[in-house]
């Protein structure tokens, strides 16, 4: 077997003993270097495998199946690579350098690529396994190739022993630092890019430490420079890519994902249900959303048999409007939602229009895309009912929509005898937050009636009904016929707060203290870690 790598470093002329000694020392150094490379590439190789497995179980769920099939496919591909290695001839060191650059790029970019492609390709599994296969083949080529490069430097038994010892130590290192250090500190994307960089560095070291690479050094150097730059730049942007592809939050198949200027809308589906996520937070599940929306709308509406005009703030899914349309006496339903991307989606997507029963197409319904606070401040209409269905007060901007100042503006919009209902997060998980909403409404001059219901996909959920006076009864008027959850009896039950959700004293949420956002962080903090 003609072996360029083994031949080239041999002393060119036996010359003086001094030269021979130097030649031997260099040989020795090169061998150590190559064994060091085995260690690095072994670590990298296992890291790529772990990344693929972890990613697959993040993105596709069912971690046992995913890990098992990914590891199987990866090991098999390594076998293919080992088998293919026999077809590599000529200058083996050059092949090795090529290979390391390729592994660096393919392995390094595997995680970012998979994250980004996940939402945009139909057959994600195909891409995943193709990438795993390609990485496996390339990694499988590495060790046989290195063994051939090293074959004349050691006796066979030493060679095998040394290479595999270093290989397995590298694997141990990878398996320990991956879960303990890399994933928590760097995340999958940066880890994959970092180890891609290491592969390219191995190529660079080989290129500069072996004299026989001189003829092609320059060409390879620019290639490596470009590869390193690409990896480094992507590393720098990893945070942004990650934010862009928050897919790991979803268990089910993503059937729609779109970023509007305000938020990221993601729809997922499994056999039973459709779920809507905004910025990763579940908004509803088609399985039980009727509980939430019936509880939001009917306790207030059944007490307003003469209601004509309703204003809905938030609720761009049209589901609250669907419930409102069950009251034929209503003449106008005005909905103000920030995001046109959201209301458009619920006008166009067939799965969604069948869910909201095409409520946005009803001639009584007017959809306005705008900032609720701005709208409310300039609106002079009086409404019989106000449905306030904002996202939870998880940040300071949304917190302003739960402030006493905002509720005072709503007070101005309420017709005499009118009612207002506010979705008020979970009184069980976020007890302080829930009661803070109730107390803030009271501070704005409302008489309040807090209530709650159980929505399986959310848990225990709370609402506050408010009006200028306490005139309200759970069976004031007739309820629409086709309700699945709300009855006069359920309404009565909703009014009861067991001790673990009972009222607690709180501050009033004001613009200059944002007490609610602070409570909300405290309340939900333990649940989001």
């Amino acid at each position: 077997m003609a072996n360029a790598a083994a031949e080239a470093p041999a002393p060119a002329s036996p010359g003086t003993p001094e030269r021979a000694r130097r030649g031997a020392a260099r040989q020795e150094a090169q061998s150590v270097l190559l064994l060091g490379s085995v260690f690095v590439i072994a670590t990298c190789g296992l890291i790529y495998e772990l990344i693929a497995g972890t990613l697959a179980s993040y993105l596709l769920g069912d971690s046992v199946t995913q890990f098992s099939t990914i590891i199987g496919a990866y090991l098999f591909s390594m076998g293919v690579g080992s088998w293919l290695s026999r077809y590599l001839g000529g200058p083996l060191l050059k092949w090795f350098i090529w290979l390391e650059i390729l592994v660096g790029l393919v392995g390094g970019f595997s995680a970012p690529l998979l994250f980004v492609l996940f939402e945009y390709v139909a057959s994600f599994r195909l891409i995943l396994y193709a990438l795993v296969g390609l990485t496996g083949i390339l990694v499988g080529l590495e060790i046989p190739l290195l063994m051939r490069i090293l074959e004349n430097r050691f006796e066979f038994k030493d060679l095998v022993s040394k290479v595999f010892t270093v290989d397995y130590i590298g694997a141990l290192l990878a398996s320990l630092i991956f879960p303990l250090v890399l994933v928590p500190q760097l995340g999958l994307m940066r880890t994959s890019l970092l180890f891609g960089t290491l592969n390219v560095v191995v190529a660079a070291v080989a290129l500069y430490r072996f004299p026989e690479t001189r003829p092609y050094r320059r060409a390879f150097a620019s290639l490596m420079g470009a590869a390193l730059l690409a990896l480094a730049v992507t590393f720098g942007y990893a945070g942004r890519i990650q934010r862009y592809t928050e897919t790991l939050a979803f268990q089910d198949q993503v059937i729609y994902a779109k970023s509007t200027i305000y938020q990221r809308i993601v729809l997922t589906k499994n056999q039973r249900e459709l779920r809507l996520f905004l910025n990763g937070n579940l908004q509803f599940s088609s399985q039980d959303e009727y509980r939430y929306h019936e509880a939001l709308v009917h306790p207030a509406m059944q007490a307003l048999p003469h209601a004509r005009r309703v204003l809905v703030l938030g609720g761009g899914d049209g589901l609250a409007v669907r419930e409102l349309l069950k009251y034929p006496q209503l003449q106008q339903i005005r909905l103000v939602d920030l995001d046109a991307g959201m209301t458009e989606l619920f006008k166009q997507n067939q799965l969604l229009t069948s869910l909201n029963q095409r409520s946005f197409f009803n001639p009584k319904v007017q959809v306005i895309n705008g900032d609720a606070y701005q709208w409310v401040r300039q609106d002079t209409t009086r409404y019989d009912c106000l449905i306030v269905d904002f996202p939870d007060p998880a940040n300071y901007s949304i917190g302003k929509l739960y402030s006493a100042a905002f509720y005072q503006e709503l007070h101005r919009l309420l017709a005499p005898g009118g009612k207002l209902v506010v979705q008020s997060t979970s009184p069980y998980v976020a007890r302080q937050s829930f009661w803070c909403v109730a107390h803030t409404l009271q501070a704005a001059g409302f008489h309040t009636i807090p209530y709650h219901c159980y929505v399986p996909s959310f848990g225990e959920w709370g609402f506050v009904l408010a009006g200028e006076n306490g005139h309200w009864r759970p069976n004031a008027g007739p309820l629409p016929r086709d309700l699945r959850y709300v009855t006069p009896v359920t309404i009565r039950q909703m009014l009861d707060f067991p001790p673990d959700m009972a009222e607690v004293p709180t501050d009033i949420n004001q613009l200059n203290n944002q007490a609610l956002v602070r409570y909300f962080e405290e309340d939900w903090g333990p649940y989001v870690h």
């Binding site: 995340g187 720098g236 900032d371 609720a372 606070y373």
Partner: protein
């Protein structure tokens, strides 16, 4: 740039690179691992070609006509008025408003196109924004003049029935979260250093604020507060006024307040409020900044402030609307002389390019002291200071950004300051908006007192600095707070205030000169400006306007 307390940099004044090495990379790197480290090292803001903007500023060209009144064309227009106000800043507008309340309609001359002085403001598609003063601390409930104005402006909506305390319009109170400080790579709540601050330093900081608590309560033998706003209402007791004789820094040394964290904070506070360092201002002034804050309200505390997207542009617009009488803008008064019946002012109308002669019975010079001095060059008995007043130059930059990459810790707040920064941080003009979209475009205003060199040197340097030279410096400040923010910057407008604000250097507040400078001349020429308080804060300028108006009215 007026009031709002916090720290600065004269301790070591580290360069950005050193700062990153010391805190950003050092600490964040250790805590967060190599990812953060590499990100911080990525070339920041290498591409700035996408950024638009230019250099703005007070109208120096017209203003400098003052220096050569002899070169004015001959007057081609004559006006006469009973009362004339020269200068449409806070003091001039407050005087005009007060005169209107007494049935007068003075004529007001303003150098710029719009009134407002250093409470100037601007507006673009993203937000209104301040060019200078941008907030008012919740005032002392005893400051009835100021509360009257705020009531009329809708800032105070009423008074609580039982306590009698003012109720503030919630939209005008600074929304939460108000302030944050980038310290050790982490954004902490509030500006007093806390995160990672050693116990000994914390103890000193606590001791300092305990002292301030005592000084807030302290009263002199004359029954007055030791420290009050307006400062002329402070006690005359020697034990307090003595503090005006030494520098704040010397006082702190003497009292054992040596913690670098505390000293940074106090220095920042002095730079923020006075445009000068703790070594430059007097101890009385340094303590006044904290101990005179005694605001009380039904729905706010002394720590709360009133703020608007356009900053104090809101207040000056209210002042203007509540006054009466003609305002002539783009007119610079160049020369003043007395006549048998009053005064005569020669003014240059920059728009029409002609000189106007204005006769008045009384004139109020609501301009900086050095401008008044030039106008009074030919007037007998005019008092001049032995040394020019210390006027700190400032740089204010308004940045329109499409977003801001946030670091760990407290989210974007109204006031955002970096520990050890060269500037005193930035204010988010969009903070008082009620918009839901927190991540959208916004305007941020970077405040930068140029306090490294003596004011005249710094002023000259600032006037000679081009936009192309300011831009990288402003962006470096931004990158210090938000690594990687440069690509988000769309526009940077820069404004140099040559005489940004007066600094209360030792001896000025309670020496004889300040009172002498403000003395009216022969019941004809009156003076109103925050220069005559020695502190450039809204309350003082407002007070000076009222004081001078009352002197004018008493002279009738």
């Amino acid at each position: 740039m007026p009031p709002k307390p916090s720290p600065s940099s004269s301790l070591t004044n580290p360069s950005r690179r050193e700062f990153l090495a010391r805190t950003g990379v050092g600490v964040a790197g250790l805590v967060l691992g190599p990812g953060v480290l590499l990100e911080s090292c990525s070339p920041a803001g290498s591409a700035t070609n996408h950024i638009q903007g230019g250099l703005r500023g007070a109208d120096h060209a017209v203003g400098h006509l003052l220096r050569t009144p002899g070169r004015l064309p001959a007057p081609s227009q004559e006006l006469s008025t009973d009362l004339l106000i020269v200068g449409g800043g806070v003091a001039g507008l407050a005087a005009r408003r007060e005169l209107a309340r007494h049935g007068h309609e003075p004529l007001l001359l303003e150098l710029e196109a719009r009134t407002g002085g250093n409470a100037a403001s601007g507006q673009n598609q993203v937000s209104a924004y301040p060019w200078g003063a941008h907030y008012l601390p919740v005032p002392d409930a005893r400051n009835h003049d100021l509360l009257g104005f705020l009531r009329e402006s809708g800032v105070v909506t009423g008074f609580d029935g039982t306590s009698g305390l003012p109720i503030y319009n919630e939209y005008h109170l600074c929304h939460d979260p108000e302030e944050r400080l980038l310290l050790n790579g982490h954004w902490q709540q509030g500006l007093v250093p806390e995160v990672g601050v050693p116990a000994a330093d914390r103890a000193q900081i606590a001791r300092f604020f305990q002292l301030i608590g005592e000084l807030k309560q302290a009263r002199g033998t004359d029954g007055r507060d030791a420290f009050a706003i307006p400062l002329d209402h402070s006690s005359t007791d020697a034990q307090f006024r003595r503090l005006d004789q030494q520098s704040f820094a010397a006082y702190l040394d003497q009292e054992g307040f040596t913690s670098p964290y505390l000293r940074w904070y106090l220095d920042y506070s002095c730079r923020d409020d006075y445009g000068a360092t703790a070594a430059q201002v007097s101890a009385w002034a340094g303590l006044h900044y904290f101990a005179a804050r005694k605001g009380r309200a039904h729905n706010a505390t002394a720590a709360d402030v009133l703020a608007w997207p356009e900053g104090n542009g809101f207040l000056v617009e209210q002042l203007r609307q509540q006054g009466q009488g003609t305002i002539l803008s783009r007119i610079v008064a160049c020369q003043l002389q007395e006549t048998p019946t009053g005064v005569e002012v020669l003014a240059y109308n920059a728009a029409a390019q002609r000189t106007v002669r204005i006769r008045a019975r009384q004139v109020l010079l609501a301009v900086p002291q050095f401008v008044a001095q030039r106008l009074l060059a030919g007037v007998q008995g005019a008092v001049h200071p032995a040394q020019p007043l210390h006027h700190a130059p400032w740089l204010v930059a308004n940045l329109t950004v499409t977003g801001l990459p946030q670091g760990p810790g407290q989210p974007l707040s109204w006031d955002n300051v970096g520990y050890g920064g060269a500037s005193v941080g930035y204010v988010n003009a969009n903070h008082q908006h009620l918009s839901l979209s927190a991540d959208g475009p916004k305007v941020i205003t970077v405040y930068w007192p140029l306090s490294d060199a003596p004011p005249d040197v710094a002023r000259r340097q600032a006037y000679q600095t081009t936009y192309a030279e300011w831009l990288p410096r402003v962006l470096a400040e931004l990158e210090h707070l938000h690594p990687g923010a440069t690509p988000y910057v769309q526009r940077v407008e820069v404004w140099v205030w040559g005489h940004g604000m007066v600094a209360p250097i030792p001896g000025f507040l309670w020496g004889p000169e300040r009172a002498a400078l403000a003395q009216p001349l022969r019941q004809r020429i009156f003076f109103a400006h925050s220069d005559y308080s020695g502190m450039s804060i809204f309350e003082e300028a407002f007070y000076q306007g009222l004081r001078a108006t009352r002197e004018m009215l008493a002279a009738v």
